[in-house]
């Protein structure tokens, strides 16, 4: 499970389940795909890494809270890297300047500029730690870059882009259906618990009002005797 991760709680989603399923896979097997992805991003959006030079090309921990692993991204303008690291790794040994944590799909939406980083931060869906200036610079750099993960990765397939696109669309549809099913399942499982919580919250509110009224009375009395 990924529940020991720091940051926002991982939502019940296909990403979480896929992450659990992928857990036994050795990182060595996955790493080449991420090497290719960061090379492709560098080719298509060199300006992102150029903009980060002004804050000394920081090293980030990117932590999708619903996956059993994280990424260390080195943003060197000439040769950026994206390395998979196990969630159990001691973060102090990663020598990153800042960490960004949130559910994978939100992180992708953020990368594509389809969602506002500040809004995610206000709602606490996104957690940042460490060098805030570096995080802000990264946010501004990717937001200005018009990144489209789907199309950028398709470009990598060259002449095979068309069949790859069809496969991706089919997978996307399955993913959407699965997400809906999981949401229904999660609502059904949590409904009784939610009702209990609501009832408890109402009781706590009542108690708070009573305690505040009593406190006021005590203050007034002690004011009179003083």
């Amino acid at each position: 499970m990924t529940s020991h991760k720091k940051g926002p709680v991982a939502p019940l989603s296909p990403v979480l389940l896929a992450g659990i399923a992928a857990r036994p896979l050795p990182h060595k097997l996955l790493q080449p795909a991420f090497n290719a992805a960061i090379k492709q991003m560098h080719r298509q959006h060199p300006d992102v890494f150029d903009r980060l030079k002004s804050v000394n090309s920081p090293r980030f921990l990117i932590d999708p809270v619903d996956l059993p692993f994280s990424f260390v991204m080195d943003t060197l303008a000439e040769d950026p890297t994206l390395e998979i690291v196990d969630s159990d790794t001691d973060e102090r040994e990663l020598y990153t300047q800042a960490a960004i944590r949130g559910p994978l799909l939100l992180l992708i939406e953020l990368l594509e500029g389809r969602i506002d980083g500040d809004a995610l931060f206000f709602s606490r869906d996104l957690v940042v730690e460490g060098d805030t200036e570096a995080v802000l610079a990264l946010r501004n750099a990717v937001d200005g870059a018009d990144i489209d993960v789907h199309n950028d990765l398709l470009a990598f397939f060259g002449p095979l882009a068309k069949p790859a696109d069809l496969a991706a669309q089919a997978a996307g549809n399955i993913f959407k259906r699965f997400t809906r099913d999981l949401e229904t399942l999660s609502r059904a499982t949590l409904a009784p618990l939610q009702r209990k919580c609501d009832a408890q919250a109402a009781t706590i509110e009542e108690l708070e009002t009573t305690v505040n009224a009593l406190k006021k009375q005590v203050r007034r009395r002690s004011g009179k005797t003083a």
């Binding site: 506002d116 980083g117 206000f122 460490g130 870059a145």
Partner: protein, 330 residues
């Protein structure tokens, strides 16, 4: 005099945000160079000369205008970057320059008289004497009013001046008399008026303390948010302070201005333009807010009711206020 149609002035911190604002219906976009000459000098934000040129071209080809904010105060003994910014913005075809400093206004009026001059909110001009002075001395065409006036006060002001007025209608609030805040300088040594940044990110830290998140500015702990509590910007004015054993927001709650409901009254009051705050926000925010206010401004121009905007989720602290437009304090 009643305004027929309000001009929508929208923020852009990157070329992508500028395009998003124009595509969403901005009449005008304001932005700044990537240096201390503007009051949103954040890392990775703002425009190079080349990007600004392209941005102005994009806006023009879509029927929109670009304003360039040069609204910080030049450093003593080092006015050159500000003067160069005036020259470059004018050369690139900016519709107007937004400035606050008297010296810079004088320079722009003398050297580039053909480029319109707007008075920044940082100048804090909120009475007819001050505004008329700027108009008579530097031929300022528009003044951005501080966020401290009620709608009747704005109407009264407009009757006594012969300058366009622009008012903030959405976004983060700065609660001090505009342009005169020392809180950031006190905590970090950097000021919004001189360095172009309040509470610079280089001095901000967020710490995960198990069931709460703590935000720090320099050496000061300024807030602590419970797990489900909406967070705000790490500015001292929105810090939570402990008095009489109780932690509370003494200056200002983390909340955003939303004055959409006042658009018809602002038209009656003779306001020319509506300003949306947020050059530091992402293009998704810009697209959403500009599209919502486009609808609102068009509805107001047609004499229809302003529709609900549905922007609560993306605002600071996830709460909204009508600010000073409806103030009941003195």
């Amino acid at each position: 005099m009643k305004t027929e149609k309000l001009e929508l002035v929208c923020p852009a911190g990157t070329p992508a945000a500028l395009r998003a604002a124009v595509d969403a219906g901005a009449d005008t976009v304001y932005c700044g160079f990537r240096d201390a000459t503007n009051a949103r000098n954040f890392p990775g934000l703002n425009f190079s000369r080349e990007e600004l040129g392209e941005g102005i071209e994009y806006a023009r080809s879509h029927g929109s205008k670009v304003l360039v904010a040069l609204n910080t105060y030049p450093e003593a003994g080092n006015p050159d970057p500000w003067h160069k910014a005036v020259e470059d913005a004018a050369d690139l075809g900016a519709h107007a320059l937004i400035m606050a400093d008297l010296g810079l206004l004088a320079y722009a009026a003398e050297k580039r008289p053909d480029t319109r001059r707007h008075l920044s909110v940082q100048a804090s001009a909120s009475n007819p004497d001050a505004i008329n002075y700027y108009k008579n001395t530097f031929d300022v065409k528009r003044v951005v009013l501080p966020r401290v006036l009620t709608v009747p006060e704005i109407a009264a002001l407009n009757r006594e001046i012969d300058v366009e007025t622009e008012v903030f209608v959405f976004g983060g609030l700065c609660v001090m008399a505009e342009g005169r805040c020392s809180l950031s300088s006190y905590a970090t040594g950097q000021s919004p008026n001189m360095n172009g940044v309040c509470s610079p990110a280089s001095h901000v830290r967020y710490e995960d303390k198990g069931n709460k998140m703590v935000s720090k500015l320099g050496d000061f702990t300024i807030n602590s948010f419970k797990e489900s509590e909406a967070a705000g910007y790490p500015t001292l004015c929105k810090g939570r302070f402990v008095t009489q054993d109780k932690a509370s927001y003494l200056f200002e709650d983390p909340t955003s201005l939303n004055a959409a409901q006042y658009l018809p009254e602002l038209m009656e009051a003779g306001v020319t333009a509506l300003k949306i705050e947020g050059r530091q926000r992402g293009k998704a925010y810009i697209a959403q807010v500009v599209a919502a206010f486009r609808k609102a401004a068009d509805a107001a121009a047609n004499g229809e009711a302003v529709p609900p905007l549905g922007l609560e989720r993306i605002t600071e602290g996830q709460r909204e206020t009508t600010g000073a437009y409806n103030k009941r304090w003195q």
